[in-house]
Amino acid sequence: MSTDLGSAPSGSHGVKRRDFLKVVGATGAATTLVGCTSEKVGRLIPYVVQPDQTVPSVSNYFATVVREGSEAAGVLAEVREGRVIKVEGNPQHPGNRGAVNARQLAAVQGLYNPDRYRAPLKREGGKLVATTWADALGILSRQLGTARSQGAAGRAVFINQAELGSFPAFLDQWLAAFGMPAHVAYDADAQLATVAANRAAYNAAWPRLDFTAARLVVSFSGDFLDHYGNQVPQQLDWADARAKLEGAPRAIYVGPRRSLTGLNADEWIPVRPGTELAVAQLLRGQLPAAAAAEQTGVAQAVLERLAQEVTAAGNGLLAVAGCGMPNARELGDAVAALNQAAGAVGRTIRPDQAHPAPARVASFGEVRALVERMNAGQVPLVMVRHANPAFSSPAALGFADAFKKVPFKVSFSSVPDETSELCDLVLPDHHALESWGDAEAGPGQIALQQPAMDPVFDTRQTADALIALARADQTTAARFADRDYRAYLMARTPGGAATWTANLPKGVIAGSVQQGAAAAAPVARPAAAPAIPAQPANGEMFLVVYPHALIGGDGRGANKPWLQELPDPVSKVCWQSWVEIHPQTAKRMGVERGDELEVRTAQGSFKAPAFIYMGVRPDTVAIALGQGHPGYGRYAKGIGSNAYAVLGTAEDAAGGLVLTAGTARVSKTGNSMDLVSTEGSARQHGRGIGQAVLVGELGGLREATGAENAAVAPQGGSGDVQGTAREVTGPSATGGAAGGAAGGAAAKAAGDHGAAGGEHGAAAGGHGEAPAGGGHGGEGAVEIPGEPSKAFLPGLRSPVANDAQGNYGDPTSKDKGMYDPNHPSGAAKRRWAMTVDLARCTGCSACVTACYSENNLPTVGAPWQGRALAPGAWDTRPGANVVKGREMSWIRLERYYEGALNAENEFQPDFDTRFVPMMCQHCGNAPCEPVCPVYATYHSPDGLNVQVYNRCVGTRYCSNNCPYKVRYFNWFGYGEPDRRQYAWPEPMNWALNPDVTVRGKGVMEKCTFCVQRIREVEHVAKLQNRELNPDEFTTACAQACPSRAIQFGDAADPQWTVAQLANDRRAYHVFEQLNVFTAVVYLKKVSHPAPGSAPATA
């Protein structure tokens, strides 16, 4: 060191401060040198043997089937380099027709669930330990042999899920070969009463509900948009019908609780639980109106009007009956008779186009009989596959205790659940996406199921394991010539393997599946289910129990974080259970939102926070079935409360379990908690976000003219964008208030803009006649430096803000760079836009899950993702991040009520609901773009509001400025594998889309209009040396939507559908008055009030 230490003697006082700082400074600088190397060495790992048809970074699509419930959805599995990354609807499947709902999308999270069984397990020393397949099959083989030699095989039981396809019949063959009885097809969600009534009346379990042929839809607690029947085809038909606007059917929902289907109906008749039958009988003329009013608790006048409407509808009536109540079978019969009397069968009820249904489903009586036999020690061996009766049956049934008494229990489940955890041997099945199979798809059609990838873990398709067992056993080997299930299926298809191979790309062939054993003899129910009392006893309320719309009444969706994070469409609650209670009742009881309530029946108790909801009768509370798992993996365990605790074991006349059986005692526990909800406000407060128009006023609306929404006019042929704008003073200014630059440019559309120039001009001419009135910025077109440029790009009337164009936004510059439509890259020729039709949207939220899947959105509500409270202490409440408003859904469904403003003081069932999908509006004049200090967000020449993740420093000013609040910040490292809050525990990260960046901590993100899909299709078109075809592709949300509510495309090209829809008479922008010029156009919902009535609002 230097000598300027002064007079202090050196060396004797240790290190002086200055010396220390000098050393630290110098070495600090030096270490930066040492520390700077280029990126860590990576490797390029090739294939050893090139697989067929696999090009890196190009996706393959396999048509197959996913089974989330007893249905079999026809899907395309998108596979990238041997891994499934997404599930999309198969357009060729007659049921799905290209659409897919949230549960089907979440199949990928079942495939890659981190809690999945990774190998066979056997019980040793009280625990399940891993073993080999040889060992496990050997154990089962010996058990089967023992059962046979003891003559006990006839008492063994196989519980399988109720499913479509050939497997149930195959299974029964296999069981017969081993001397065992036919299997029990267990489905906790089975709507047995409805199916039985439908079969009796129409000879079809689920006839197609042809809403497009209907004039009046009356649903008696039949939730055809939730989870009842076949949701996707029903929703497709419903939305097509409502999109007919003037010709759309009016819908009335009769039931004690307004489900999602009820919220989509135009009117709600709030009858007491179990009294839907009285209304049906009234409509059939079997019950006088006064008596019906007495039973239902609804005003007689309302019922009489309903009867008139039904009569007036004639054979345009479509009546649907639900189940869950004690008289469900009688209700189904009455409603079917109603349809028949109206002449609707064959018109609106189409048994000839019936949706597929499992041939056999066990009645609750069968399950009860099984429990009795297990309790009596009569069952030597039980095997369970994809059924979880230890959870999904009423606690009062005591299934788990009876199950434990069976000496040997085998599970074929893929994931640990409450039933498999009790078993002695686990032979994990493949996931549906790894399996061969088939399933009925429609009348005379079969959907083909094929593996979309190699198995993730050491699992085996159950059918193959069963065949292996049979072939190893001399007494059964002769009957099983096929060496595996794939060979078995193909041998039974006309044309064999050749037909399969030829049709796999389509995924559907003509044919029928193997027919299995006849249904078991019905087990007589011990007693008729007791009727629901006419009035609740003192201090009690009616209790409606319904299956959770997303998780399922059997709880099978609970281990999928996408389904846990997806807010329930009605309550907007996620990661939690809730009790629905009417505001009037809540006020009377002093219950506030989030106060914990206890719902107690004779069987048990259910505790959950209160959700104040206008859609339930004041004398009723409603709870959802499916949450509250004590096990079933990290995403399900301990989340919510188990409603099976309060269920009794009564059966309806068809042998189905009665869910809504009677009354319960509802009381406050004194606890209070945050409701994990994504709902901001349930009211629009006049903001005009979700707008509607009465059907009678539709004719008064006029189409947007070119002046308002110049979906066609590109800039004039001069190519000088700025110049065109300046010339506008003439026609539009004299034309009156509106239009401004837009109108002028439209009227002038001389367009030598690409091949479609002529069409542009003609179309613009047609539109541009009379510039619309209505205050769309009527000033002339003088450019003021610094103001957003009015020289907007082709497409929706939307100037691109000056700032967003960077240097190119300089009004005095002639060089527009890429923002010039004539730039060789052609970037500015396109104007990506979207329309959302609120008349079609039902609020099902499939779009939300599709976006999660496509864009690598993290789920944030898992218990280990909460924030740190203190060093080493974390907030482990499920959904803690959602409570703080930190959910990441780029598209969300907002649910607003209109009407019933005095619900706290009186019961007002007449309220309208608006579902508004809200995503980044890609504003032309975006408030978020100018405020980013690092230019991480800007407006692209093709109309997107772009977010560049690697530039973002996390100021969050952009989110602050966004009026729609559609920007989401990564508060935690959801995308960083070494952080606690990582959202994709291995192998969940196999489903990440490689085309979309996984965002790290501190980065802002938002809807990108699926820019990766835009670029992908542009690449493909360029490789084929052509332009894009109209409607060639779409965004993930639009693709999934079973209502076809979302349209996406190039609004600058009139051949694209979105360009036409943007000019629809019902079109509007949300917060139009802010002048942000959104690229998302909403089409108003159409309300169908009762004929002859004068509603206060649309």
Binding site: G6, A29, T32, V48, S825, V998
Partner: protein, 212 residues
């Protein structure tokens, strides 16, 4: 601090600041240009992709097309590496002449026999937040050598260009000159001269082309 020593403080800080600035220029966004790592198998590009020596075919290369091995370079975003099976297509019978060749081919065969992939050391990489579409560039006519240098003459591949964003944007804005691309590829003068007549190809360079 006494007056005597004040004069050292300011120059001291300035020196530190200068050092930090200079050092930071080499940190983080450092380029891996000229990086030439050793590969597990010494694959000789000149022997395979090098020009054919018409006079003496045993000297010189086989003139293989780049796309024969890097098969996805004109099909996908990712150019892909050849599978070991592609190599073995020839090398089950081609066992090498010189001792060095024999050694390397034996190494390759060892990987194949153990059903293991050859763990090539990656040279060209853009960060994960860049979606670089390789096939767009190949298909528009950019010669491989424009970005990768004359790999057909490199016994050990080195990264020829910096692959920094500035380098990419430069070409997008100024345009790709086919003549230059052919010259870099080592094409004969006549071909280069003919290519001068072709138009310069400019491309889009807004952020959302690559960053999404």
């Amino acid at each position: 601090m006494t007056t005597r020593r004040k004069w050292t403080a300011i120059p001291g800080f300035l020196a530190l600041a200068a050092a930090a600035t200079v050092v930071s220029a080499y940190s983080g966004a450092s380029s891996s240009q000229y990086n030439s790592p050793e590969q597990p198998v010494k694959f000789p590009h000149p022997r395979h992709a090098g020009a054919v020596n018409a006079k003496d075919p045993s000297k010189g290369g086989l003139g293989m097309n780049c796309v024969y091995c890097h098969y996805a370079s004109n099909k996908g975003l990712d150019p892909g590496m050849p599978a070991v099976s592609s190599c073995m297509g020839c090398h089950t019978v081609v066992l090498g002449k010189a001792d060095s060749s024999k050694r390397e081919i034996a190494k390759l065969t060892a990987y194949w026999n153990k059903k293991l992939p050859v763990p090539w050391v990656r040279i060209h990489k853009v960060p994960d937040y860049v979606n670089f579409p390789h096939m767009r560039h190949t298909n528009v006519g950019v010669t491989c050598q424009t970005c990768h240098g004359q790999i057909q003459n490199q016994w050990q591949v080195a990264q020829a260009a910096s692959l920094n964003m500035g380098w990419c944007i430069n070409c997008h804005v100024n345009g790709y000159k086919p003549a230059e691309g052919h010259r870099l590829a080592g094409a004969p003068d006549s071909v280069v001269r003919a290519a001068e007549k072709l138009p310069v190809h400019k491309a889009r360079y807004d952020c959302s082309s690559c960053h999404y």
